[in-house]
């Protein structure tokens, strides 16, 4: 079942196109990673999903409700964590969590207590005394404790230390097991790699790639490293092979598509070591933006 459906979404600010004909479909229970460089349109997409800004064209549906015309119905199913939590400095952490629970209309108070412990939050302190990370914990606890069908998160772990990052990942995995859908915009590629079923890569307001990590890796080159007793064989003529680097008896390269011919040439030269490695999401991200956006390279 499709939980979030974005169709031909465009947002213009004057002549500047922040989003350009963007379409996405996210299924129930999926953890969806939303990646892109700064200014590529991630936060704009989220603000459109929440009905905070109006699209120039296109529609967004959340659980079947239009995010613009049926906002209240759509928002009953949503919990949101902004990249920078803007809370009321004069309230305490506990008061803020109470207020946000009332605003949302539903809260698993037992789970909230558990999250307060896990995130090591001191709820009696005034918000103005909290560090950035602690303010972020409040927004995370409020969103997770709401047990909303859809969690929309915009850089949710900004300011969290590595230990709290692990607590966050565990909470997201639990949400996933409960069938909640998570829309995760993040710059922390390790986090996305560890959590997400599918990712979309955004560039200048357009989605350039969407798919599972495996699918994206399939589109990317495989890294090969091999050691030989003598000079490595010539592989420059083999189709799909690139980035060849020979250093003494050591060879490294990248290969796209079929590996059959490359393996045949390498095995004929009797390698003493052979290592093939899939690219990490970070490598994938960097190589993709190098390819797509020469000015970023």
């Amino acid at each position: 079942m499709v939980t979030i459906e974005i169709q031909k979404l465009t947002k213009k600010y004057g002549s500047f196109k922040a989003l350009d004909n963007l379409s996405l479909s996210i299924n129930q229970g999926e953890i969806f990673g939303y990646l892109g460089p700064n200014g590529s349109g991630k936060t704009t997409t989220i603000r459109l999903m929440l009905g905070m800004i109006k699209p120039t064209a296109g529609t967004i549906k959340i659980n079947g409700y239009d995010a613009q015309t049926q906002k209240q119905l759509a928002h009953r199913h949503i919990a949101y964590v902004p990249g920078e939590s803007n809370l009321w400095p004069f309230l305490t952490g506990e008061e803020t969590l109470h207020l946000l629970a009332k605003v949302h209309g539903q809260c698993d108070t037992k789970y909230r207590q558990q999250l307060i412990k896990q995130f090591d939050l001191l709820p009696g302190k005034k918000v103005r005394t909290y560090s950035k990370g602690n303010k972020q914990k409040i927004a995370l606890i409020a969103a997770l404790a709401s047990r909303a069908d859809v969690l929309i998160m915009d850089e949710p772990t900004a300011g969290l230390d590595p230990l709290m990052e692990q607590v966050f990942r565990q909470a997201i995995r639990e949400a996933h097991l409960n069938g909640q859908t998570v829309f995760l915009s993040s710059h922390i590629l390790d986090e996305v790699e560890a959590l997400c079923d599918r990712v979309a890569l955004l560039r200048s307001g357009r989605i350039e790639r969407t798919g599972s990590l495996e699918e994206l890796r399939g589109l990317s080159a495989l890294k090969i490293e091999a050691g030989f007793k003598t000079t490595p064989p010539d592989i420059s003529k083999i189709e799909g092979v690139s980035h060849i680097n020979v250093s003494g008896n050591h060879l490294s390269c990248e290969v796209r598509g079929s590996m059959e011919e490359l393996l045949a040439v390498l095995s004929k030269a009797k390698p003493i070591s052979l290592l093939s490695r899939e690219p990490s999401l970070e490598e994938l991200f960097v190589s993709m933006y190098e390819t797509l956006e020469p000015e970023l390279a």
């Binding site: 603000r47 929440l50 009905g51 905070m52 800004i53 109006k54 906002k71 209240q72 928002h75 009953r76 949503i78 919990a79 949101y80 902004p82 920078e84 803007n86 809370l87 009321w88 400095p89 309230l91 305490t92 506990e94 008061e95 109470h98 207020l99 946000l100 009332k102 605003v103 949302h104 209309g105 001191l122 009696g124 302190k125 005034k126 103005r128 005394t129 929309i152």
Partner: protein, 553 residues
């Protein structure tokens, strides 16, 4: 290891850091200092010229002014009795200088707390201190930059008085005008010193402002008691405002010593502040703060409750201001009426204010309280609208919208609270007005005052409607436009009170479109038009807000 010389040649050296921080402060202070400088200049010149125009005959003028000055109750707000009080400059120094010094000191205190504690609270201070600056240097630069605001106030007031007062009819000595302007700027300097000090004492800007207001009002109260209560004149020596009161700039022999002493003490306090700023950790305060508290959840269960929790400090502040104004004005009604009865000029002034030349003077004076109620309500509404805009610009509204609260509910909850507060303040102030009048034996009808007075809420509703319309169309400019409209109306009213203005010009003030009861008969037609316009603008503004993008800072 140091940066290599090769890289250093590529570094573009910025201006010296002192210059940068000082310029930043100057840029921030220049705009509001110009507005307050113009206000001080216009108000001063209107008072000095106005008294000559109202009483060209020196004997009649002397009778009225000595009558006022001999009334100790008026000493609460007015200045010092001195020998040259009937000259335009002397009257201006008596009539307007203490209030103007108070206003300028509060403005300067608000500004400097925003620049010092406000910047420290929102994290900008860290950026300044991570550069080539220390806490002491940055504090010094911001205070010195703010000093340009005081120079602007001095210059505008001095120019207005020198140009306006040069003719033989007014004959205001240039030396006196320069000292008068310096006294106003010194009032602002006191505000800078107090605000800078409380920024070191308090952990938040809000607390720094509360401490600052308390100190300033306490000093003003001491000065007022010294002026108003016979035998307690010595108490003025305990207040900087009392010292400034004693200078008498247009007197034949001004007492400059008190001015130099005030400047010396103020500069000493600023020096202390700079020293203190380098001794404490960034973000800390000299008065220990309570960082934890027991949860108070009762007002967090509904939008209406939370709106009240957010806005109540604004309401309480303006409620106290409104009730105090009314209580002070009405409690001296009979005394003032006795003083000015028979004085054609002041009777005319009250007639102009109330629009009824036949009203008894005590009733006309009583009606003037309505004017102060309207002013405080309008400022309260402007502050509340500013708060609403701040909730949006800071992104805090996102928590509600994402949680399923509609924009309409979010905004109307806040409007509901503002309207309830407006009605409550009006009712309480009017009741105080009524009972204090009755206590003095003034014949005034309950219905005339309380129900007839409702017509003064027309301009208040108009400002609320206008604010909502601007909020719907140009949210970023809400504060500027609303304060400009209120400031314009206020200035036009001040000028109109002293000079004859073209009626179209005078009617551009929102304060002109109300009847001050019980002296004047309520103008329900104007009231209906204002309410109709307010409703139209409100509905349009709310509709536009519902349709537009939320705009962050």
């Amino acid at each position: 290891m140091n940066t290599s010389p090769a890289i250093k040649t590529n570094i573009e050296l910025t201006k010296r850091r002192t210059s940068v921080i000082r310029r930043f402060a100057i840029r921030r202070v220049a705009g509001t200092a110009t507005i307050f400088g113009l206000l001080a200049a216009i108000e001063s010149i209107a008072q000095s010229i106005g008294i000559i125009l109202a009483y060209p005959d020196p004997a009649a003028r002397a009778k009225v002014i000595y009558g006022l000055a001999s009334n100790p109750a008026l000493g609460l707000f007015y200045g010092n009795m001195h020998t040259d009080i009937i000259s335009p400059g002397g009257y201006m120094a008596y009539r307007i200088m203490p209030i103007m010094i108070l206003v300028l000191s509060i403005w300067a205190m608000l500004f400097i707390t925003k620049m010092l504690r406000g910047q420290e609270e929102n994290g900008n201070w860290e950026l300044l201190l991570s550069g080539r600056s220390s806490a002491r240097n940055s504090t010094t630069d911001i205070i010195m930059g703010s000093g340009v605001g005081l120079v602007i106030i001095f210059t505008l007031t001095a120019l207005a008085l020198i140009i306006g007062g040069h003719s033989s009819r007014f004959a205001m000595p240039i030396g006196g005008s320069l000292i008068y302007s310096l006294l106003l700027a010194t009032g602002a300097l006191i505000g800078v010193a107090v605000g800078a000090l409380t920024s070191q004492l308090a952990s938040t800007r809000r607390k720094a402002v509360i401490y600052g207001l308390t100190i300033i009002i306490f000093m003003f109260a001491i000065r007022s008691i010294g002026n108003a209560v016979a035998g307690l004149n010595w108490i003025k020596n305990l207040s900087l405002f009392g010292w400034l009161d004693k200078v008498n700039p247009y007197n034949n022999a001004p007492v400059y010593g008190w001015l130099w002493l005030t400047l010396a003490v103020t500069i000493l306090v600023i020096g202390l502040v700079i020293w203190l700023s380098g001794r404490r950790d960034m973000g800390s305060s000299l008065i220990a703060d309570q960082d934890t508290s027991k949860p108070k959840l009762s007002l967090l269960n509904s939008q209406l409750g939370f709106s009240f929790k957010q806005l109540r400090n604004i309401f309480i502040g303006w409620l106290i201001a409104s009730l105090s104004f009314v209580a002070v004005i009405v409690s001296i009604d009979k005394t003032v009426a006795k003083t000015i009865t028979g004085s054609g000029g002041l009777t005319k002034t009250f007639s102009n204010l109330t629009g009824n030349p036949y009203a008894r003077i005590e009733v006309a004076y009583l009606s003037a309280a309505g004017y102060f109620i309207v002013i405080t309500l309008i400022f309260m509404i402007a502050a509340s609208l500013g708060h609403i805009r701040n909730e949006e610009s800071s992104g805090r509204i996102d928590n509600f919208i994402a949680g399923g609260i509609s924009r309409l509910k979010w905004l109307t909850s806040r409007l509901g609270v503002i309207m309830i507060a407006t009605g409550s303040i009006y009712l309480l102030a009017s009741l105080i007005d009524y009972f204090l009048a009755k206590a003095q034996g003034i014949d005034v009808g309950f219905n005339d005052l309380i129900f007839g007075g409702i017509n003064i809420l027309g301009p208040v509703a108009f400002i609320l409607g206008l604010g909502l319309l601007i909020y719907g169309i140009l949210p970023r400019h809400l504060n500027t436009i609303i304060y400009a409209v209120v400031g314009w109306s206020f200035t036009i009213d001040i000028i109109a009170a002293a000079l004859k203005l073209n009626s179209y010009f005078a009617d551009s003030s929102i304060f002109k479109h109300m009847a001050l009861v019980p002296a004047a008969t309520p103008d329900w037609h104007t009231f209906e038009v204002l309410i109709g316009l307010a409703l139209l603008m409100s509905v349009t503004g709310i509709w536009l807000f519902n349709r537009r993008d939320l705009v962050l800072e």
